[in-house]
Symmetry: C2
Subunit: 472 residues, 2 copies
């Protein structure tokens, strides 16, 4: 790949060995090469991910696992020699899956008693102890539900069975097109008279693994329990109904919402050598669903953020500006961490020159989503050409990530790391999202790309153009 | 991604529904979109791969599994409605692993009797029945072996422990830099007086899984047995030796080379509607090592070649020229299939307008290796911009693939499909190369890219520029 240096990069770029402040200006390509070499040959991201997944595999907000993850991250930043390490408090919701989640056929007769694997959706209420037994109606959209007429779903369990669109090469777009049924299906069902909502799992696979995720009850609408069924399970129910069977199911859930509790964003820095008050954030979210190990979502992003700072440290690259690693709380079911970070640091927002988030899995790098002005995006496009070796060269418009999203209102340029998306929804929010599903080289190339971009922006003479501030 | 139509594409491109020859010219972007949609939504490549891996998981040349694979491929082409289906005979070598492969410490005393996992290298002779017991010398290169002096390896087992270079982002380059010790290590060792050669497995992982592969004895040099040790195993031996231990091992192998036998290249076509004598080859190799299931190497390439033709058929895309699917025999240990294809079709070589091979695993598409003239490569670069949706847009100079390689001498433009290489050597030639390691969406995006390129070239008005013919 032919990388020619665009004009913007010919501005003086100075990186100095932390131990020898008088070192000469390095060639940025050379610095990126050192970062990539170090990450691939001696990177720690994969080992760190293994530690996190063993220490706190289940770390949903408010759980013991979440506390363990915070303690691990805090200790790890100390061990790795980060500066200005701190826990920044925020209040997070607390939902527990409970002991029972069960979906069993009660009709047709020949299937009576047979169970289908499910996972309660985060935020769901429980069923009565005996469960909810009802016949099933299957729809793909809320419009189909409306079309059934006023009593179409009365006293029934509604199965929302809209598949993710297989033909979307960007699986996140396919997810966006179908996830409404998970987040709002329970309230759609209740409005139509339903007694519970089942939702086809948000995955590109056809298998027996259910995928959980957040749901939210619409204000003023009766609350009914809701759970995810595997894609095979959903297709099976739908086929039976389509064949004219009177399909009846009994759903039992014992999940519950408890009082909110205190948690923390975990923060540590590599302080800038010239402009320490100016900040490049690199982050991921430390919370994860209570199934699997949150390896891709978002253990990978957390260890890449840690590794980005570690790589600069071990290579003696102390950039002009401060690089701040932020491991956010509560992305999965509330976003309290991202919102609180923005609130607590609002006086510092003008000094935030960039925020980078990695929350799309630890796969092979492709590029970036740029949530910034057009002129800033053009500068970013030039910068990331220097990252050609990592494969992260494509820039698309888009949000940067859920946790850094609140900073957009303050005009901070946001970047989301975009790895290849083909495999992400094999694992997302599922028991299959485990350490063994993350490839070391892919994870380390991503860490190098993130470290490289953070260094390029933190060490640049000028900051990227900002958007007009929408709110303070 | 912004795809503007380059001039070369504005030449008339005509695709007609096989059932309605009078259909109007389709927009090539629209055709590629149909191919990608079909492959992602209703593609068969993954199912076909599952069938192949179940039917003939072990299919080394000359084995019963290889015969089963040929029968499966032949029957499958018939079931899928290919035209001009045939088995083209070629003579292949036959090597068998045998029942025993064993590597055991005999010194130091505290490790006596402990075994390390190994795999004999394809082509190796057996040890005497009692095995070979000797002390170990560890080197990284043949030069290091030479530097030991004339008796440095006398009566010893030589361990070649050169790792693949982790910092090479293209893992095939890292493989190329280290694989000499596997293919020639036995003869290097014998020349230095050694009695056997052990070779560090060619993988980017550090684990306990040995990876096999072909070796070849240098003419006139004493033949000694040789096997691959896992990376962990090799590191362990090397650490003991470095610590000054007298490491002695006993190696037992019962592998053997038998008489060559007849096998077949399996060939089927979609006959061109205007220039049926002109041919675009799409291929992979049907043989595979006798461990794992040859899922990535090269079941993936075989089913992508089958799928490329199937996709055109089901979409009613019969291009001007013939698309010929060739599943080659004996890539792994002899290349008899590729050589025999070139020999048997030498009178047809001038009508071969392109040969495409997929033999780098079923991973997410990145681009192509172009073995052709510079002017042909420039045309290829323009064509593959139309494949942006598949991700296969990068064109690098290089060989097209081992099986199609012999056609280069006849001036045929060659293209190798290049998927992302980060994970390939986790599986290559190892028990881990199984169906479950291949992701459906990645495999199907690759099939779409290959089908798309084959269609673009087969349906184009003019052929790509050819190289001067080197031999006939």
């Amino acid at each position: 790949m032919n990388v020619s240096l665009p004009l913007v990069l010919l501005l003086p770029l100075v990186a100095q060995d932390a131990a020898s402040p008088s070192a000469a200006r390095p060639d940025p390509i050379e610095v990126i090469d050192r970062i990539v070499d170090e990450s691939l040959a001696r990177g720690r991201a994969h080992d760190l991910l293994g530690e996190l997944c063993r220490t706190a595999p289940h770390r949903l907000s408010g759980s013991e696992g979440a506390d363990l993850a915070v303690a691990w991250a805090h200790a790890k930043m100390r061990a790795l020699g980060f500066e200005n390490i701190r826990l920044e408090p925020c209040t997070v919701p607390r939902w527990e899956r409970g002991e029972v989640e069960e979906l069993v056929f009660t009709s047709p007769e020949e299937l009576r008693g047979e169970a289908l694997p499910i996972l309660a959706l985060g935020g769901s209420i429980a069923t009565p102890e005996a469960g909810i037994e009802a016949s099933v109606v299957v729809v793909s959209t809320p419009e189909e539900l409306d079309a059934l007429g006023s009593d179409g779903a009365d006293d029934r369990i509604v199965l929302f069975n809209r598949p993710m669109d297989d033909t979307e090469v960007d699986t996140f777009r396919a997810y966006g097109g179908a996830v409404g049924q998970r987040s709002q299906g329970a309230s759609w069902a209740a409005r139509a008279g339903g007694v519970a909502a089942l939702v086809r799992s948000m995955t590109t696979r056809r298998d027996d693994v259910p995928h959980t995720g957040a749901m939210r009850y619409t204000e003023g609408v009766r609350q009914v329990p809701t759970a995810a069924v595997s894609t095979n399970g959903a297709d099976r129910i739908a086929a039976l109904v389509a064949a004219g069977e009177d399909v009846r199911l009994r759903l039992r859930l014992t999940c519950r919402t408890l009082e909110p509790v205190e948690s923390f964003n975990v923060v540590g820095e590599l302080v800038g050598r010239e402009k320490p008050a100016e900040i490049v954030v690199v982050g991921g979210h430390l919370d994860a669903w209570d199934v699997g190990e949150g390896a891709h979502d978002d253990g990978a992003g957390c260890v890449q953020a840690l590794e980005a700072v570690r790589l600069m440290r071990v290579l003696g690259l102390r950039p002009r500006r401060t690089v701040r690693c932020v491991l956010f709380a509560n992305e999965e079911n509330g976003l309290a961490g991202g919102q609180e970070y923005h609130r607590a640091h609002r006086d510092e927002m003008e000094q935030h020159v960039l925020a980078i988030e990695s929350d799309r899995g630890g796969f092979t790098p492709r590029g970036w989503k740029a949530g910034m002005t057009d002129s800033a995006r053009r500068e970013l496009e030039e910068l990331v050409r220097l990252l050609a070796r990592t494969g992260a060269t494509r820039v698309e418009a888009g949000g940067g990530g859920a946790d850094i999203g609140p900073m957009r209102a303050s005009g901070v340029p946001l970047v989301g790391f975009v790895p290849d998306s083909q495999r992400y929804f094999d694992f997302h929010h599922a028991p299959t999202d485990v350490f063994g599903a993350v490839n070391r080289r892919e994870l380390h190339l991503g860490a190098a790309a993130i470290a490289g971009l953070a260094w390029l922006v933190a060490d640049r003479e000028g900051a990227l153009p900002r958007a007009a501030e929408a709110t303070r």
